[in-house]
Amino acid sequence: MSQTRPKRKVPFEITPKIFIFLAFVPLLLLSSTFSGHGGSGDFHAHKKWISLTLNLPPTSWYSHELEWWGLDYPPFSVYYHWVFGRLVAALGQTDSFDLTDRTGVDTVPLLRLLIVAFNALVYYLPVYYMIRSSHRPASRGSLTLLMYMPILMLVDVGHFQISNYVPSALTVITLHYLNLELDNRGGKHENEIGVSSQLKASSAFMASVLFKQMQLYLSLPIFVHLLRWCTVERDVKKSSKSFITLNFLRKLAILGVTVVGLTVVALIPFRSDVSQVVRRVFPVGRGLYESKVANLWCMLDTRPFDIQRRLPPHIIKGLCGITTLLGSAPFLARIWRNKNVDLNANVAGCGMAAFLFSYHAHEKSCLVFLPAFVSAFEEGMSGRMILMCGMGCRFLLELDGLVYEYLGMTVAFLAYFNHFYGGLGKLFKGEKWIDYLQTAVISFSLLLEFAMPIVPNPVPQLPDLYELAIAGNTFLGFFGTWAWMVMDMPTTKATKAMTKKQARGIRTSSRSRSRSRKSKKM
């Protein structure tokens, strides 16, 4: 029996079988260690919050025992924990979720099983079916990578911060609906599609913000985009010089009611003390940055600059605000000016700017802009960004004892890329200067990966040398990408694929194909 090998093509379609398989790949992390395996960490936080929802009325959730992992996530996230609590109760495991029990390590595998099953439902399923049905070839192209992002699995299931999959899914859904409206502007069904998809997009995004406050990184571009949409007149003849028209007010009111309504609904159980919720969710005064994060302030706080010693904190806070705004400004301007703009790339750019320049960034915050970035760019750029985000979180994972899992998952990602994109060439192909820069950054991190076990402590006076080297290296990659996005608007696959010529060509070919299929049936 001879074996026929299928010809390899660039795949835009993942079959349901593969998608189900991928949804359960994180099970490989089932019995790994987790954040706080030796003392206390994110696992204990999430376990405590599940216990809170199990044992206490909602009114005391935001004020119970604040010194031991007090609740500091927005309401929707708390409801998510409440669902977990219900499930745990249904399985009869409430004993380990006593509020006084501060260990409960034996519940990790059970919780991980639940998390993986949940993520299959809240991330893989909606993202898969939504993107697959998308009319944008670019979006469908990004699906392959959205289905396997090692860093997302490692942080969510491994590190045990169980609040990353839902916001990522909501980001993808938001961008999907915003693009749906954008592509149909001026078309036959413009008005019907317009309002409904903008409603869906804004409620999805608001839900994501109410799930995780870090999603505010993406709020500026989406707000600007929606505001711009409010000013668009359906009839070009009617468009007046005045900015505020009846149409504008009507659209703005619709969006405002959605956003405010969702917030109110989310806060109903906590109505007695809303200010406490706000204080917990937005803790100011936690520090400029956390551990060795690959952003500007961590870099400026090292030996030659020492910014925190030279400048008073309130000035630094001001600087953070100004730089974040300046860093986002080019993208916001593009969104405001261009009618047929590549929205995903600009949203990702603003997210990156916020990560690089804002106050109190965390390594894990790169997961906020990652889904938008992967949706925006072709596979090589997206793949390199996924690798760089992994590098940014490497030391976080090492603290959790997950470094082998990190390396294993990353190599598996390369295998995945190699299989589905027909070779690793696309990952390291160079056309623009940014491709070379990112490839160099990734290669250097590989070099460090080998150097670390062989020469554990090269300079005794500088114990954090490797941490700083990896953070600096990753910062170089992130900063370079941001600068490239600012300097020349990337010719992304989205804009490329949507040029009319290609669209027409593909249309005719697909038609002829469907015709030929029909004729075969007949």
Binding site: E13, L30, Y404, A415, H419, F420, G423, L424, S510
Partner: protein, 511 residues
């Protein structure tokens, strides 16, 4: 709010590129993908804390070759449990490994990792860093000896991914801890050179193989008969050809033994330990596991049947014992040898008549040994599995073969992360799948394998088989008895396929 319905979108681009990418099975992936996957899985298992007693065996051998003089290698009994029982060349390999260990900075390895210790001390004093370094050494052999050999053997053809990403071998070498890839390198090299008519090369590789592990003396007749019938006697018997082959063989077979001439009798008692008993402690799924299963059933029926059982130690206690049977007569090693000889003669005759190729012949021969042999270890099934990608057999048969073989290794996967291991097993099996599998009889057997693996693992999860309980033996017994039943079906099928007048088992052609 607008009415809910789906709208046609402006750009009706439905399917720009529709190439249905199939589930990544090994037949469709490139060698690079399989190599990366292998690397990924092995990184996952590097920090794994479990190791079997074989780790202490290899650690002790390395320590002996590292610290003792060459004459004392087989005599030293500081550790009287894990004494060397492989031929001299393997000890030479351990010696080389010791030299490489010397290059590692002492800050990374605990100091007594390579020193000779008595047995219980070795258990206590082994550190995780020592295990990690040893694991890295098996990986080094895997990546720098085995994988290049695979690329040499099949530069572009389909066996490569199947041979590189062999989960059975991966589990065996990394978790159970052995240097099997070293042995399989020469196993594959010798058979492949025999297949491609590189006579001297195949003899050299086979002599090295034999000096690494003497178990392979079972396939020596294949080399003898095939070289005689296809080289020396063709077109007419030629003495120079024979002399050349004989001299090459002897000059590679004998020299490794020279330094050990004084301790030769001792080496031979070590190499052929007939006192160890008919079956290995976990009952590898072959004829004898069914035999002992029958014995156990008769033991429980002894009262109604009015039989008088002997009292023995438990068969699955993990200890190597020679008195196992309560009712049925014990099986001597000579009977096993006789059975193997009986079952192997027809296929060897067929080989001599040049009606079957050496690789299918080796598969059947090794399978005979596995099913009938004396004190056969579970891992011997890999001798059969590793050759399957080279031949064309029905896809379903191969898949069932691989699934059952890997499942029979389950007792040596060890404790800890059991769920992940079972998951890896199923994933690896799914990856392995070849097109054309999964219909008819084999579909049923596949289901049966899934069923018994899940049953055995389920019993452990539920806790019926905890340590010290009455049913402690049950998961192992399920694995070996169910595995033996499946093995008998497959054995019959393989026999039928090989013994047909026009054998349907042929060598796969290169792409």
């Amino acid at each position: 709010m607008p009415p809910r319905r789906s709208y046609p979108v402006r750009s009706p681009i439905r399917s720009p590129v529709r190439s249905p990418i199939r589930f990544p099975v090994l037949g469709t992936v490139t060698p690079l993908t399989s190599l990366l996957l292998l690397l990924s899985f092995s990184i996952f298992f590097i920090p794994h804390p479990y190791i079997s007693t074989d780790f202490y065996v290899h650690r002790n051998w390395l320590a002996i070759t590292h610290n003792k003089k060459i004459e004392d290698w087989y005599i030293d009994e500081t550790d009287n449990v894990n004494t060397p029982d492989y031929p001299p060349m393997f000890m030479g390999f351990e010696w080389v490994l010791g030299k490489i260990f010397d290059l590692i900075p002492s800050s990374l390895v605990s100091s007594n990792c390579v020193s000779v210790l008595s047995f219980p001390d070795a258990l206590d004093q082994t550190t995780q860093s020592c295990i990690t370094i040893h694991r890295l050494s098996t990986l080094t052999v895997y990546f720098f000896l085995y994988v290049p050999t695979i690329f040499y053997i099949s530069p572009s053809s389909s066996p490569a991914p199947h041979l590189i990403l062999n989960f059975g071998l991966l589990f065996l070498d990394l978790i159970h801890f052995q240097y099997n890839t070293l042995i399989y390198t020469f196993y594959l090299l010798s058979l492949h050179s025999l297949q491609t008519k590189k006579w001297s090369a195949s003899c050299v590789a086979f002599c090295i193989l034999l000096n690494l592990k003497h178990l392979y003396v079972y396939i020596a007749p294949i080399f003898l008969l095939h070289i005689l019938s296809s080289h020396v006697f063709l077109p007419h018997p030629s003495l120079p050809k024979f002399l050349k082959i004989a001299s090459v063989t002897l000059s590679f077979l004998l020299p490794p033994w020279l330094p050990f001439l004084p301790s030769l009798p001792k080496i031979f008692t070590r190499l052929f330990p007939f006192h160890r008993g008919l079956i290995h402690s976990y009952w590898s799924p072959n004829l004898w596991s069914l035999y002992i299963f029958l014995d156990r059933i008769l033991f429980h029926l002894s009262k109604p049947l009015n039989l008088q059982p002997k009292i023995t130690k438990g068969g699955t206690s993990g200890l190597v014992t020679s008195d196992l049977f309560t009712i049925l007569p014990p099986i001597p090693a000579s009977l096993c040898m006789l059975l193997i000889l009986l079952f192997s003669t027809p296929i060897l005759i067929k080989l001599y008549k040049r009606k079957i190729k050496p690789i299918p012949c080796a598969i059947l021969l090794m399978y005979n040994v596995y099913m009938l042999g004396y004190h056969i270890h579970e891992k011997s099934i890999i001798n059969v599995l590793i050759l399957l990608p080279f031949i064309d057999i029905e896809g379903g048969l191969e898949k069932v073969f691989v699934g059952n073989g890997w499942a029979s290794l389950a007792p040596i996967w060890g404790g800890g992360n059991r769920g992940v291991k079972v998951l890896t097993f199923f994933m690896g099996w799914r990856f392995y799948g070849r097109e054309g599998g999964g219909r008819g009889k084999y579909y049923f057997i596949e289901g049966f394998i899934v069923f018994y693996v899940l049953a055995a693992e389920g019993i452990e999860v539920v806790g019926w088989a905890g340590e010290g309980t009455r049913l402690e033996f049950l998961p192992t017994m399920i694995y070996s008895v169910c595995g033996a039943v499946v093995n008998f079906c497959l054995w019959g099928d393989l026999w039928r396929a090989c013994m047909k007048e026009q054998t349907s088992v042929t060598i796969k052609k290169d792409d």
